[in-house]
């Protein structure tokens, strides 16, 4: 039988394609992977006035010893596609409780990675903000020992993702590995406040560089990040202040300080971890400074120590967040006619609340246990005691926006189950 030339060519092409598919080097075929993680948790907190939340992206919390499930429960799914050893894409969606929740906020990662050579990664798209030790997996309960990332540290520092680029270069050392990463991008985030329903909507550009060293049983890191804010997050307040500067001399200075447009926040973070597979310890410290009056200069810290007994791990944790500036008392202009004074009073109160809105002064001590009771499943139980300065309770949901005259405290009990799938 004679084959016509075209058919012959087609057959040859098919044969070549088939042999390519069957040859040992045929690993360039597209490969899809689906995986995920989930946490089911309940938490109870005994303070009656303020609600316990996992971080500042939540506007509901646990209080009054009622069991609350939305704080820690979540489910995340990830779709990874490998096109070749140089190109791959990752999409991650996490469903959990968030203030002003929507799908756009649930889309944690969506990026393409280009790896021209082993040890150099360039990622473009929606990326995890690798600012702190747990930043990139802070929602994956199975990946860490505690019920949730240490609150004093991770609650206010609630940057999850940004749209932009990062470049990571690995350096192989004799007994370790050094990774240096630089990143830049843009993101918007909604945060609830204790004083208005709509919260604040921040549009900002994070940029930074991180150094991560793994050396035997030790891990260390340093990150410098700068976050520049693109919008004035409290425009109604600053507009109001600018309008009354003729009768309230301080109003303009307050407005200039509160106006966040063009202001920056700077983070210096250091982290150190040790794990010899029996004992483990981890600590992180961050200093935040800002030239905007809306963000109080603060220091964040935690230390934790644990020991494994087969599938059971016991740990202790201590954390603190302290303001590096004084609490600000704002007084309105004196000697005004009562009608004017009455009109200005909400601006005075709004200014005081805003200037102290991120005044955080609390510490925590806690104990916990993790039990890896089955493959890729862990149960955790954690008890913590929190103590807050009367002005420093802003990590908590202040339902009635109370001004406390006494320091606050709460005992928080949590039970969670984490799984990977």
């Amino acid at each position: 039988m004679r084959l016509n030339p075209l058919r012959k060519q087609l057959n040859q092409a098919l044969l070549i394609a088939l042999s390519l598919c069957l040859s040992p080097s045929a690993w360039s075929e597209v490969e899809h992977r689906f995986s995920g993680f989930a946490t089911l948790g309940v938490v109870a907190s005994d303070n009656e006035d303020i609600g316990f939340r996992r971080d500042l992206t939540q506007d509901e919390g646990a209080r009054n010893n009622d069991l609350y499930w939305a704080t820690d429960s979540l489910i995340g799914v990830q779709w990874h596609t490998r096109f070749s050893h140089k190109f791959d894409t990752t999409v991650q969606v996490v469903a959990r409780d968030r203030f002003k929740n929507d799908f756009e906020k649930s889309l944690e990662w969506a990026f393409i990675r280009y790896r021209p050579v082993d040890g150099l990664d360039i990622r473009l798209g929606r990326l995890g903000s690798d600012i702190f030790m747990l930043s990139e997996y802070r929602q994956v309960g199975y990946a860490f020992q505690w019920v949730r990332p240490p609150l004093e540290f991770y609650s206010w520092l609630a940057l999850y993702h940004f749209d932009g680029i990062d470049i990571n270069k690995r350096f192989d050392l004799s007994n370790g590995t050094l990774n240096i990463k630089a990143y830049y991008g843009n993101t918007r985030a909604d945060f609830p406040t204790n004083y208005n329903e709509e919260g604040v909507d921040i549009d900002f550009n994070p940029a930074g560089v991180s150094f991560k060293l793994e050396w035997g049983n030790w891990r260390g890191r340093y990150t410098y990040s700068s976050v520049s804010i693109n919008n004035n997050i409290l425009e109604p307040l600053t507009d109001g202040l600018y309008q009354v500067q003729s009768v309230w001399a301080d109003a303009k200075a307050y407005a200039d300080s509160i106006n966040s447009e063009g202001k920056t926040m700077e983070y210096h973070e250091v982290g150190l971890g040790y794990d010899n597979n029996v004992w483990w310890a981890q600590t992180e410290y961050t200093e935040l400074t800002s030239d905007s009056g809306s963000f109080v200069n603060s220091s964040y810290f935690y230390f934790t120590l644990g020991r494994r007994f087969g599938p059971v791990s016991l740990y202790a944790i201590a954390g603190s967040v302290k303001p590096e500036e004084d609490y600000r008392n704002v007084t309105g202009p004196e000697g005004l006619p009562p009608l004017y004074a009455q009109q200005i009073q909400p601006l005075v109160e709004g200014t005081q609340e805003t200037l102290n809105g991120s005044y955080l002064d609390q510490q925590c001590r806690g104990l916990g246990v993790r039990w890896d009771f089955a493959s890729r499943k862990a149960l955790k139980f954690q008890v913590e005691n929190y103590e807050m300065d009367k002005n420093g309770t802003n990590l908590w949901v202040n339902y009635e926006n109370k001004d406390f005259t006494e320091d606050q405290s709460s005992t928080v009990i949590s039970l969670t189950m984490d799984v990977l799938f």
Binding site: Q78, Q92, G119, A143, N276, L420
Partner: protein, 142 residues
């Protein structure tokens, strides 16, 4: 008495024999002839994606819950299987690395390594076909 002694020696022999080594294997055509312990850790713990000679590496794994998998990672890193899974979760869900593809048996691993010049896997010490070669031997406690 002598019988007891012989029995003891035999039992000891058994326990020594069961302290089987684990072999790290690559395709016989691979340009890699040997790996240090650290190089194997870097490959199987997702720190690197290439062999020391910069050729791309495809790391293969056994399914979670396979006894040899637990023995291998214990011998390689000192970590339990749960610790290894937690460690990989930090890399995978951070979008940094892809976890090695998991296979259901050692025979599938050997076959896959035999078919793929970039592959690297681990198996219990055993006679191997000519198209795979050993690049590291790990003593296993069990």
């Amino acid at each position: 008495m002598i019988k007891k002694l012989i029995l003891t020696i035999v039992l000891m022999g058994c326990s020594i024999a069961s302290a089987a080594d684990i072999l790290v294997i690559v395709n016989a055509d691979s340009s890699v002839d040997g790996l240090t312990h650290k190089q194997a850790v870097d490959l199987f713990m997702g720190r690197v994606t290439a062999f020391p000679n910069n050729k791309p590496a495809v790391t293969l794994d056994l399914e979670t819950g396979t006894p040899l998998r637990a023995h291998f990672y214990k011998a390689l890193t000192g970590k339990s299987e749960a610790q290894v899974d937690a460690y990989w979760a930090t890399l995978v869900f951070a979008g940094r690395m892809t976890q090695p593809k998991q296979y259901d048996s050692e025979q599938t691993l050997i076959q896959t390594v035999a078919d793929n010049s970039s592959a690297i896997a681990y198996v219990d010490k055993q006679p191997l076909p000519a198209n795979v070669k050993v690049v590291l031997e790990l003593p296993s406690e069990e």
